[in-house]
Symmetry: C2
Subunit: 207 residues, 2 copies
């Protein structure tokens, strides 16, 4: 087989504006609300910058409040359909710590903070990452209604499945603020300023 | 916030042995069985090379049988928990074609060929990739029993959910050959030659 045209690596890069956005944020984010407020800020900027959808995430050391990584949805910027905010942020954290297991023996307990219940893909990505806690702004059909994204089939007992694997779940942290970002994004789609990039969303789901 | 220690990109690279392994394979793989036989060959070599688990995948143009990308599980080699065979292979295909949507208007229909039903994460990753067809060697608890991997919660109607989104599913292609690779891997774990790298697998699931 002639493999000369095959890709042998893939990569994704955070846009420079993310560091700019973090410049005036304190080094320690003590509460769930402080962590989520930063996520919302990054999500709101991400779609305006046309890097990707209105999604962002942080990996944070639960006890100290120190941020390990900050990421945003990079599907459009990277050309990779898997580059959702959760996958990007977990991969950046694993790159920084130098290993695939964010829950490795001896490491501080780490958590993923994200602005909605993960989609079908990111649900699994969170399971395998080693984080010990997941903090979400909310769950429910509002996301799909406001943004037109298909979140995919996720089981009703999704939170219990995390808990069974030793990952605690905190919900409804700055939920209204999350919906405000999604509504802004929805308006930008209607105005033709943003794109929905779910591969199978076109006519396939009944919203 | 001091972000000087933050990672701002992540990447994964295929090991050189993958190209070597493809050298004697024909350019066109006309049947599902020919495609899956190559997947099994890559999966069997991957864990022996200690690049990752016993999993491999191809993205193939369904009609022509031309291979767009070949990938393997790179969790150990890349240090990224998301680098399962499906995610790697889809990302390599998207890197090669230059965009996140493998089902883009005007492109030939493409399919993902993989050696078991995707885990919870890769199930979603396949949904969003734009492939129009999924070919698996099998499904069922044998994988978890033989390899000790936790595949995560996937809905009973997983195949129907693909079909509803315009992705056809072909099952049971060289199923026994898949189980033979998993059994070999299981023996290599028992012999202390391989590692199970599921973050939450330790004691969390009852196998």
């Amino acid at each position: 087989m002639d493999t000369s045209a095959f890709a042998t690596s893939f990569r994704a890069d955070l846009p420079a504006w993310v560091s700019d956005e973090l410049a005036d944020v304190p080094d320690v984010l003590a509460t769930d609300e402080e962590r989520m407020a930063l996520v919302h800020r990054l999500a709101a900027r991400n779609f305006r910058e046309k890097t990707g959808g209105p999604f962002a995430a942080l990996v944070v050391e639960t006890e100290t409040g120190r941020v390990v990584s900050a990421g945003v949805n990079l599907v459009l910027a990277s050309g990779l359909s898997m580059a959702h905010a959760e996958v990007v942020t977990l991969a950046l954290a694993q790159t920084r710590v130098g290993g695939w297991d964010l829950g490795a023996e001896g490491a501080p307990a780490r958590e993923l903070v994200v602005n909605w219940r993960p989609c079908a893909q990111c649900y699994g990505a969170t399971l395998w990452s080693g984080v010990r806690r997941l903090v979400v702004a909310g769950e429910g059909p509002e996301l799909e209604h406001l943004t037109k994204f298909d979140e995919g089939p996720v089981r009703e007992d999704w939170a219990e499945q995390f808990e069974e694997r030793g990952i605690t779940v905190a919900k409804d942290v700055l939920r209204d603020e999350a919906l405000a970002v999604f509504a802004d994004y929805g308006r930008s789609i209607d105005a033709g300023e943003s794109v929905v990039y779910n591969a199978r969303a076109q006519g396939a789901i009944d919203l």
